[in-house]
Symmetry: C2
Subunit: 221 residues, 2 copies
DNA sequence: GTTCGAATCGGTACTCAGTATCTTAAAGTC
DNA sequence: GACTTTAAGATACTGAGTACCGATTCGAAC
């Protein structure tokens, strides 16, 4: 089978990291186990932690593409499908994604880089949402809130799968539920003219709702 | 005046970083300009980037303290005052905070560490909020959403001040407004029994509101 | 078949961050 | 004054990351 040098390096790195720890394994160790040289390692990866992390660049680009082709009427759909892109990617990756998660949970250096990567997704979502809210005062803040909520919802369901707490179908369905909750912030829009009503909850009683509305309107705000 | 070695090191580092860039200045440079030795530098700071970052540990502890002494009736107040702790700290710091912001905006290494620090605040808030929502299904997700919204609101107003776009009083008032928006996610609680009503916006017309409520209740959800 | 060019890889040497350890000077403490 | 503690300087080492050079291979063009 045509295993490339790059693949051998990744495998060697994962094995050594899990086996003898991150700090304890040198790049020479990784290169040696992959039957190649230190130079070659640095030709393929920017650094030691780079081996573990997936290439977010490609994934980020795909998410950006999805968000770019969004019509004014279907913003929410674009956001949901944008969030689905990385989730599907990791679900398809399977065990590799899980191994990476184990490492990212343990090794501070890698966890920090992972957090920084997550932030790039937040910024990407925020940029698009901000563009959609151009006329809004407080646009940047709302955009950031919505963006981070989406990413949090995504990571929430992803982590449960990575930890083996959920199977794939449950995870996919979970994203939709989590996004429901996350996008409440988008739906409740205090900057719109008049008032914005958000009603959530199972089968509300109409009279009770109206009573609550009266109370809310009469209360000092 | 009794400038300590530590202070001299910090000053030297800031000057050199701004003057000749982060990567271009070695720790020897910093030590030399502070008229001390490399050993002393590492005795005071864990690493090169540590000089720039404030000690989040103390700040984090103070926020945690404030959140810990929160009664069931005053959760929202605790969150607001918890968010005010770091804001007040940076406002008091003044120019130093601004210089740090300039560096963090420019130098990827420092920015990544800054992002990781922010994440620690999110986790702290989330832990407390999660404790308060113990009985809630989806508690962890809601807690994360609320926590990150608070931190985003905080950083939003802080950044505007750091960039010199706002004066201090405006910034303090801005935090409250930003938190209003951020905490919508907390108020709109789909897991509560019955329904939850969130009404936001300036001076809503009662009839219009009731009409919207009827429409929302009649619409298929 | 030869030659040219472009990748790909290995090898060497260097800078610098970070750690460990030892020694020294100064400042309390009894 | 002798003793302990603490802050600082000095030295040496490991390992990440960079720069550069040379060797090999594989095609394509002539």
């Amino acid at each position: 089978m045509p295993t490339t040098v790059r693949d051998r390096l990744v495998d060697a790195a994962f094995e050594l990291f899990e086996q003898q720890g991150y700090d304890a394994t040198t790049i020479d160790d990784i290169a040696a186990r992959a039957d190649t040289s230190r130079s070659t390692f640095f030709r393929h990866f920017r650094g030691k932690d780079d081996v573990v992390l997936p290439d977010h660049d490609a994934l980020l680009a795909r998410v950006g593409e999805r968000l770019s082709m969004s019509a004014p009427g279907s913003r929410a759909i674009a956001l949901r499908e944008g969030a689905r892109v990385p989730l599907d990617h990791y679900l398809a990756e399977g065990p590799t994604a899980m191994a990476r998660y184990r490492l990212a949970s343990t090794i501070p250096s890698i966890r920090d880089r992972e957090i920084a990567s997550v932030q790039r997704y937040v910024r990407l979502f925020a940029q698009h949402v901000h563009g959609w809210l151009e006329d809004d005062t407080d646009g940047p803040l709302r955009a950031e809130l919505v963006a981070s909520s989406i990413v949090i919802a995504h990571n929430h369901v992803l982590r449960r799968w990575l930890r083996g707490e959920q199977d794939e179908p449950t995870t996919r369905a979970g994203l939709d539920r989590a996004l429901d909750r996350a996008l409440l912030a988008l739906r409740a829009d205090p900057s719109a003219g008049g008032a914005t009503i958000v009603i959530s909850g199972p089968d509300p009683d109409v009279e009770q709702v109206l009573e609550q509305v009266r109370a809310a309107l009469n209360a000092p705000r």
